[in-house]
């Protein structure tokens, strides 16, 4: 049978252990194949990684079979979980040595020269003003932890790493970030800056 012909939720729950094992092997192959397509161009992913990711994803998928609502193909839903598993692990490796203290210090240094690359400031007046308002708001409108969280976002730190550094739950960290964003947004609005201004200044 091809992957599109298998009734995955049924086969993976099969009480016949041989049938279930065959479905698990087939799904692992599908995930492995997809991960290879998505990640093969990266220099930091080996064949062994791909196999680990596929195996780990398979377990996560089996664990949450009940959450599959049939609103997409099963393999699409499963592949999304596999990618999340793989990327989460790859991001963790990149950020594992960064501490909360480093991020707090990063926020403190925001006003120092050189902290924002020259090309951000550029010659455009509206861009310079926007960055100045943002910097001012990050420095004065946030709690230290909110500031660390926003610096993490600025640095493109993965959300899971921010959660880990803050030492809170995912939902508490999410709320902290969301509150911080709303506070910053209010400061931008108070300075008369709109979404359109941002899009124009940064060519978004």
């Amino acid at each position: 049978m091809t992957p599109t012909e298998i009734n995955w939720p049924v086969a993976l729950r099969a009480t016949d252990t041989a049938e279930q094992a065959a479905a698990m092997r087939a799904l692992r192959d599908v995930l492995h194949h997809g991960l290879r397509i998505a990640l093969s161009s990266r220099g930091d992913v080996s064949e062994a990684h791909l196999e680990d990711f596929a195996q780990e994803s398979l377990l996560r998928i089996l664990d949450r079979l009940d959450q599959f609502q049939g609103r997409s193909k099963f393999t699409t839903w499963a592949q999304a979980i596999a990618l999340n598993t793989a990327f989460t692990e790859l991001r963790r490796k990149r950020w594992q040595d960064v501490s909360l203290d480093a991020l707090l210090a990063d926020g403190e240094r925001l006003a120092e020269p050189g902290m924002i690359a020259e090309d951000v400031l550029g010659a455009q007046e509206d861009r310079q003003r926007l960055v100045a308002v943002l910097r001012e708001a990050i420095e004065h409108q946030l709690t230290p932890k909110q500031r660390a969280a926003i610096m993490g976002e600025l640095r493109e730190m993965p959300f899971d790493q921010i959660v880990e550094l803050l030492g809170t739950s995912r939902s508490a960290a999410y709320k902290m970030l969301h509150d911080a964003r709303r506070a910053l947004k209010q400061s931008l609005q108070a300075a008369g800056i709109t979404g359109t201004d941002i899009q124009n200044a940064f060519n978004l």
């Binding site: 997809g34 998505a38 193909k73 991020l103 943002l134 640095r155 939902s171 941002i198 899009q199 940064f202």
Partner: protein, 82 residues
Amino acid sequence: MKPQDQPLTSEQVGSVLKMLALTTERELNCSECLQHVGEFAETRLASQPVDAVMSSIEQHLALCPECREEFEALMTILQAGK
């Protein structure tokens, strides 16, 4: 050099500003996005119109670089399988 020792780039500052512009009172989180992103990807591939749930996924993807990275990888896989 550690990531936090490099100057912030215009992409980084621009993307946080864009995120602020898009911030609303109620937002999906990453787990909710993961639950629906497969459906969103298939909707996109089929060029079908997006409903309310799908448009909240779209908003989350605009805000969240990680989910966006995973979504783009998913699209790569789905397109390769077409």
